[in-house]
Each structure stands twice: as C-alpha cells, then as structure tokens.
Amino acid sequence: MLLFWAVAGVLAAAAAGLILMRAAGASAEAGVADPAPALYRRQLTEIDELAERGLMGDTERRSAHAEAARRLLAAAEAPVQAWNADPGARRLVLLAAIVVPTLALGLYLKLGTPGMADQPYAQRLAGWQHSDLGALQAPEIAAVLRQATAQRPNEAEGFRLLGLAESASQNPIAAVRALRRAAALAPQRADIWLMLGQAEVAEAGGKVDADAAAAFRRRLVLQPGDPAARYFLAGAKSDAGDRPGAIADLTALAADLPAADPRRTQVQAAISRLEGKPVVTADPQQLAMIQGMVAGLAARLETRPDDPAGWVRLVRAYAVLGDTTKRDAAHASARARYAKAPQILDQLDEAARTEPKP
C-alpha cells in the first residue's frame, strides 16, 4: 500500500507542479510578439541565400521575393490581439492542480481494485512449492514440476510426473512434450512409452498418428505382446485405411486376453464398430472425458479463433467421435476462415475425412 501512495503522491505532485510552472512561465512571456512576421522574414533570407548559391534562377527569385514580402507586410499589418499575463488566473490554475488528482483518486477508488497486491509469477510459484501437494490443483502441480524439471533436466521421473500433471491439466501438447523428454532420458522404461503414446493420441484428437504408433511400437519391443500397445496399433492401421488388417489384429488380441479381462469388451466393441455393426458398449467415463476436452477446445476457438492447428484438431475430434453435424459445422466455418490458405484447407479436409473411432 505504501508503494501505491508513494507513486500516486509523486504523480499528483508532478502534475500539479507542471501545471503551475508552465502557467507561471507563460505569464512571464505574455508579451512575446506573433511569430509569423519573423517566419516570413526568415523565408526572405532563405530565398536570398539560395539565389546567392546559384540554386535559384533570377526570375524565380524576384517573384518569390515579391510574394514573401507581400506576406510579410500582410502579417506585420494584421491586427494583433494582445495576450495578458492574467495574474487573476492563478487561483483557477491552483484549483485545477488540486482538484484533478483528487477527482482522479475518487474515480480510481470506484473503478480500480484498491489494496490488491501484485502477484508476480515467481512469488506464486514459490508459494506452491512450499505448500502441501494435496492442496494444489493439477495446473499448479504442473507449474511446480516444470520448475523442478528445469533444475534437474536429466531425471526422467520428473518429466513423467510432469506429463501426468499436464495431462490432468487438459494440456495435451505440454504433456506430449514432457513425456518425449522422459522417454528420451529413459528409453528402457516401457511405462513411459505407453503414456507417451496415449498422450500423442490425445493430442491428435483421438487419431493414432505416426508419433503415437512409434511410441506404441517401442512399448511392444520392451514388453512383447502388451495388449494396450496392440490395441492402439490396430487403431493406427484402421486410421491408415487398412480396416481388415485392424480387425484381424484386434481379433487376435481379443483371443489372447483372458475371458474375465474387462478390456476384452472394449476390444470387441472396437471390432464391431470397424465391421459396421452397432456398438454394444463403450467406456462412458472415457467418452465423457474426451467429450469434455473437445468442448474445451471448441470454447477456446470461440474466443480465440485464429488458430489453424486448433481448428484441424477440432474437426478431427468431431470426426473421431462420429458427430458429423458438428464436424461439418466446424469444417465449414474453418474453411471460410482460411479460404486463402490452401495448405490449411488441405489439412482441414483430411481431418474431416477421419474415420469414427470405437
């Protein structure tokens, strides 16, 4: 609060001082003559100077001289209305110098947030670092972990945790970034590759793209036969257009899973969907989570629409969810927005063609 009053006080005093000083200075100069005749006299000397240096012809000089002289005469003869020092104005000036800061303060107290302290990021971060982890929200944990990983850039576990926190903060891109670092630091850890693959899928709006597939393949190398990796790799096949191959892989996977394994139903559902049959079940919890993320993305694009990559992700996500109405609406609106950018249009069209996912 002290700082506020110091700044406000100095400002108000400076303003009042400037107003009073300039008023006093101007009073002292009240008798200064009109500058126009002086300016015309200067024009006359300039014309002569130019002519002397040979930069102006004789005829031009004569006519220019005559005109400038006429202007000088007219200006010198113009009626001059004198200005006065006006000592009586002093009270008015003083009043203005005091009233303005006072009124400004009053308006500030109404419009501003008096007493609210600054909250620089470094200070808030220090606060989170010293508080109980359980009391923090996911983005705050992510912020603390970001700081920690920056200090210990060679520890895979830190980046893995950061990836988890970023995922939980609905920030798939940052999650992928962190998990890639973790995987690079500890390439032998199968759990990190699986997390990375899943994060890549989330980032791509549900599509198993090349980056995701590469991660799942690494997982399979480290943990042969892993059901999760096989499931997603089958998805990659169907995304690439190889539907029969995907069905074959999933069927083999279902056969390998014990009958009691709950994942089996999910695999069966995926097979049914690929075969065009009505889907029996889907994991409602996971679906709700994905839908929530897509809604978040749509809302963000509503407020900050200038984000081509975001539009591509949104169109692809609607396509994956099988929501054709919303897909087409988003597709049309993004196409209109980037009508002049062919490469973005290509990406949008490709995203709209994405197959719905189990």
């Binding site: 008023a23 009240a30 002086a38 200067r42 024009q43 930069l55 200005w83 203005a96």
Partner: protein
C-alpha cells in the same frame, strides 16, 4: 501495488487531459497566457501519467502477473523476455494504451515544442489534442482497461499468438502507432487554424515537421509489417491487400499527398483549403484503421478479438471527432484567402496532379477495403476483393503518378518550361528505356509489362539523380563548384531526392519480384531435392529442436547451382506448447538483392518413409522492396533535420539580423 498505481495513473491522465482542454480553451477566450500555459502543463503531465500506467502494465507482463486479466489472456511464463515486453501492446487493450501513450506524447511534444506558434493557434492545438486524448483515454478507462484485475488468477497465461512472437513484429506496432497518432498533431493544428482563421504559408510550415515525422514513422511501421508478413507467414508474399494493411496504407497515402500540398501552401500560399482538408483526413484515416482492427468486422491476423460494442464505441469516436472537424472545415473554408496564381505547367500544377492521383488511389483502396464489408452487412454475402481489383484500379493511378515524379521537381514555380524539363530529363529517359530493354533482353521468360515496370523504377531513380545533377550543375561546372552547391543544398531538397530515389528502388523490387518470382512445392524425403529457377534445393535432414516455449522440427537444406554449393539454411516448423499453434520459420538464402525462400511444411507420414512438404520460392530483387521504403523514411528524417523546420532555431537566428 505497482499495477494499482498504474491504474490510478491512467485515470489521472484522463482527468489531466480534460483539464488540459478546459484550461486551454479558457486561456484562449480570456487571452490569458497563464491559463493557456497551465493547459500546456496539463498536457505534459498527462503524458507522464500515461507513461506510468504503460510502465506498470509492462512490468506486469515482464513478471507474468496473471492477476491482471490482460496479462493472463496474452502472456505466458515460458515466453522470452522480448515477447513478454511486446505482449504489452499485443492485445486490444494494451494497444489502446500504446495509442494513448503516443497521443499524449505528441500532445506533450506539441505543448513543449510549440513555442514558435502564435499563442492562439498554440492554445487551440493543445486543446484539440486534449479533446482527442480525453476521448481515447475515456474509452480506454471505461471500455478497454488493460489494468483490470482478476480475483482468482489462472496458473498460466494463454500466451500471445505465436505469429506475433517475432522481433520485427515486436517493434512494428510502436512505429506504426507513432505514425498513426503523429497525424493527430497535424489534425489539431488544422482544427486550431480553422478556429483562428489563420491558414497561410506560415501555418503550412508549422505543419510540415509534424507531417514529416509522422509520415517517416508510418513508412517504417508499414515496412516492418510487410517484412514480417514476408518472412513469418511463409506465403512468400509481402503485401496481400488485407483490409488491415490497407488501413495503414490509406493514412500513408494521404500523408504523402499532404506533404506535397503543404509545400505549395508554404511557398505560394495556394491550396490552403485542400491542405487543411488533407490534414484532417490523415488522422481520420488513422482512426478508421484503429476502428477496423478492433471492430470485429475483419478476419485477419491483425484483428483483435471480436467485440462489437467496442467497435461501435470507436466508430462513434471516429464519427464525432472527424465529423466536427469537417463541419468546422465546411464552415470556415469559404473564408480562406486565395493563394498565388499559377500556370497550367508549373511546379504547383504538378503537385496538384500528384494530389489528385494520390487522392484517387486512396479512394480505390478505401473502396476495395470497405465495399466487401458494406456488402456483407447489407446482403450477408461475403465477397473478397483481392489483388486483381487493386491491379486494375490502384496500379494505373500510381503508374501515372510515377511517370510524373521526376518532372515535378524540375519545373519552376508559377510558370514552368515543359520543353526545358524534357531536355533536362532526356538522359533519364534513355536510362529508363535502357533498363526496360535490358530487362526484356536478359530476363526469361519475357514479360513486356514487367519490363515496363522495371523501366519505370529506373526512371524514378535516374530522375532523382538528374534532379541533383541539375541543381548542382554537375559535369558542367568544375567539381569544386558542384561540391559547393551540393553542400549548400537545403536538407529538405536532399530529403525529397532520397524519398523519390527510395520510391524508384521499391518500384523496381516490387515489379521484378511480382513478375518473375518462381514457386515450387514438393513432398521430399530425407535426401530428396527440388529445383527452383536455376537452383537445386536438397533436404539434408530434419531434426527436432527445443525452443524456450516451442518445439520445432528444424530442416537443413542445401542450395546448389550447377553443382556448386551456394548456401545452407535451416527453416523450422514450430509448435507452440501454450496455444498449440504451429508457425513456420522461413529460411532465406540471400543472393545479392534476391532471395531463395524456403519453407518447411507439414510432415507426410504415409508411404514408405516420412516425407516433408517443402515449398521453395525464388524471389528476385526482393530486398529492394524493403530497402526502398527505408530510403524513403531516411529522406523524411533528413528533411526533418532541415534547419528551416527546426522549431525555435529561427527565433534565435532572427535576433542578430
């Protein structure tokens, strides 16, 4: 408490601007030097107050204080310091504050430097500047306050659009705004002169330095923007006739016309009414630009978040301030004194023609910018007015103007000698024709129109040089005499020559690049190559690199010609973590004035191996496009340094005489 101190300072600035108007008007009415002086003090204080608020906002950006709503919406902790600073003006609210900073800054400059002005004009200028300051500050405080707080600040900010995270774009807005808002002083001087009924040669000289300064700043600002669009958007172009580009171009065209017509008013006392009209129009177009960007009527990289209410408010401000000024003009203009007469062939006539063509060109740009908007508002149908429209309308007017440029300065005032001018310009004609013929002969494919355009650029350059040769009698008198004449030339003359020369350089570059640019795009695998013009571009490889707030794929591309290595560039494709946007970082290989411009596009995973879409452009003479305007702006600065325009100097020189 720094943020809150800034919030108070902003409101104080509003109060000071209002009292600036009151004191200046009261001073004028009572002819009281003390009151008018107090008004000037208030103008200086208002600037200090806005500067304090601006510094507070910048500090909040630097320390990432997300309790300030504007910082939370436009910054991010991982952003490099430069872009955190630039984030201060990267949003609607912040840029309005920058606008107010420039506005009060020019108001303070007018109050501080205006001592050579007659008291009446001075007080009315300060008052008008105060009215503009009050209106825009009120808008900022009540409708667009950048220092508003949030009770529960988010953990992270939402970051600045990564396209705007670029050094050229960090400094582009300050220059552009200084240029836009610099026109406000010209506007205020015009209003003051209309009120005082004193529009004459002297007034014109008072206007000129402000117009020159604003014009130079605007030139630099627009060039920086074009350069940014060129290397950051990765489309290989530098001007798209985007409505927002047009919005900055229109005040520039009007200011250019104003600079020329003010010369006529200053030297001959003629065209006074027209000069005042242009002075009012220049800032009106600046405000139109401010409205277009913020109204939400445009979809553009420049457009800030859509907000119709704020747009309507800005439209009201624009309508009321300009409307009042033009009403005043309509009322007072008939009483303006007639200036000196001049013959149809004379410097004055040439400048009138210059003004007609510039005004017509501005009208075509205005039409091309507003027509689609109006049509969409009326019928709901969206149409796009692009380069073909401007090539058919704007370009012919400009070409006609460019043909005339070298002749103008060689014509005498009052009554010119057309034959003499032709005689003096024949060398320039030969050079221009030679340039055009050489272009036809040497450049393939042959393009007649392109060659004519390059010849036109050569005509401007040769014409500018001829003008200096003529004035110094070079090659006809001894070298020492030429030197004496050269050093004796007023800076204003040098400024004009530089500006015309820069225009020629720009025209050559723009025409050559537009007519002969070559494009190629191919999906390349590692080791793959494509040909662009005479060059062979190989994609050596792509590797991931991590930036401060982005991850990028960085390509290494080698350019060779006939097997000889020319250069190696590393274009990038960046993914910004905070917003998830991708941008391209173009790789440019400079070959003299020409560029080999390489863009790394998206990754293609299908097929046997990963491929990358690589786009390559051969942009011949592209450097000239940006060098030309820099020379023009330099001309403006040289002209501004002319002692005849330096305020205050004249008075001191007067005393010994």
């Amino acid at each position: 408490m720094i943020v809150e101190a800034g919030a108070f300072a902003l409101i104080l600035a509003l109060g000071l601007s209002i009292v600036q108007v009151a004191l200046s008007v009261a001073g004028r009415l009572r002819r009281s030097a003390a009151l008018a002086g107090a008004g000037e003090g208030a103008a200086l204080a208002a600037f200090i107050a806005v500067a304090t608020a601006f510094a507070a906002l910048m500090h909040a950006f630097v320390v990432s204080d997300f309790s300030v709503a504007n910082v939370a919406a436009n910054s991010h902790t991982e952003k490099p310091l430069l872009y955190r600073v630039a984030g201060t003006w990267g949003s609607h609210e912040g840029s309005m504050l920058l606008w107010c900073l420039a506005l009060t800054g020019f108001g303070a400059a007018a109050a501080g430097l205006g001592r050579t002005l007659p008291r009446g004009i001075r007080s009315m200028t300060v008052a008008t500047q105060g009215v503009l300051g009050s209106v825009f500050l009120a808008y900022t405080v009540f409708a667009s306050n950048p220092l508003l707080r949030v009770i529960a600040p988010p953990v992270e900010g939402r970051s600045l659009n990564p396209l705007l995270q670029d050094p050229a774009l960090a400094v582009h807005p300050p220059f552009l705004y200084a240029g836009y808002v610099g026109m406000s002083v010209v506007f205020s001087l015009a209003v003051a002169a209309l009120i005082e009924g004193r529009i004459d040669a002297a007034w014109s000289r008072w206007v000129r330095p402000w117009a020159l300064a604003a014009w130079s700043l605007l030139t630099v600002g627009i060039t920086l923007g074009a350069f940014w669009a060129y290397y950051e958007l990765g489309w290989g172009g530098w001007w798209f006739w985007d409505p927002v580009e047009n919005a900055s171009f229109m005040p520039w065209l009007i200011a250019t016309a104003l600079l020329h017509s003010a010369v006529v008013t200053e030297k001959r006392g003629a065209l006074a009414g027209w000069t005042v009209f242009l002075a009012l129009a220049a800032f009106t177009f600046s405000m139109l630009g401010a409205f277009l960007v913020r109204s939400g009527v445009l979809t553009s990289v420049h457009a800030f978040a859509v907000d119709p209410t704020r747009g309507v408010l800005l439209l009201i401000i624009l309508g009321v301030t300009s409307g009042l000024a033009f009403t005043l003009f309509a009322w007072r203009a008939p009483s303006l004194a007639q200036g000196g007469l001049f013959a149809p062939i004379s410097r004055e006539s040439a400048l009138v023609l210059n003004n007609i063509l510039l005004a017509a060109a501005t009208m075509t740009v205005l039409l091309g910018t507003l027509y689609p908007l109006i049509r969409e508002a009326m019928t709901g149908e969206s149409i796009s007015v692009g380069p073909p429209f401007f090539s058919l309308t704007f370009v012919p007017f400009m070409a006609a103007l460019l043909v005339l440029v070298p002749a103008g300065p060689l014509l005498a005032w009052k009554r010119g000698d057309a034959r003499g001018v032709v005689q003096r310009l024949w060398v320039a004609v030969l050079i221009a024709a030679g340039v055009a013929l050489l272009t036809v002969a040497l450049v393939s494919p042959r393009k007649a129109l392109g060659a004519v355009g390059v010849g036109l650029g050569g005509w401007l350059v040769a014409g500018a040089v001829t003008e200096i040769v003529e004035r110094t009698r070079a090659f006809r008198v001894p070298a020492a005499e030429t030197w004496r004449r050269m050093t004796g030339l007023p800076r204003g003359a040098w400024g004009m020559t530089l500006a015309h020369l820069g225009l020629g350089v720009f025209v050559m570059g723009a025409v050559f690049e537009t007519a002969w640019k070559v494009e190629a795009a191919e999906a390349l695998q590692q080791g793959g190559a494509l040909n662009i013009g005479a060059y062979h571009v190989t994609l050596d490889g792509v590797r991931p690199v991590a930036g401060p707030n982005y991850d990028a794929d960085q390509a290494t591309m080698t350019v060779t010609r006939d097997g000889r290595p020319i250069c190696q560039v590393k274009p990038e494709r960046r993914l910004y973590t905070a917003g998830g946007q991708t941008t391209s970082e173009v790789g440019i290989c400079y070959r003299g004035a020409s560029h080999i411009y390489l863009v790394l596009g998206e990754r293609r995973d299908g097929g046997a191996a990963t491929a990358w879409l690589v786009r390559a452009y051969w942009n011949p003479w592209a450097s000239l496009i940006f060098l030309g305007p820099v020379i023009m702006a330099l001309g403006g600065l040289v002209s501004l340094s002319d002692r005849r325009l330096r305020m205050g100097v004249g008075r001191r020189r007067e005393q010994p005489a």
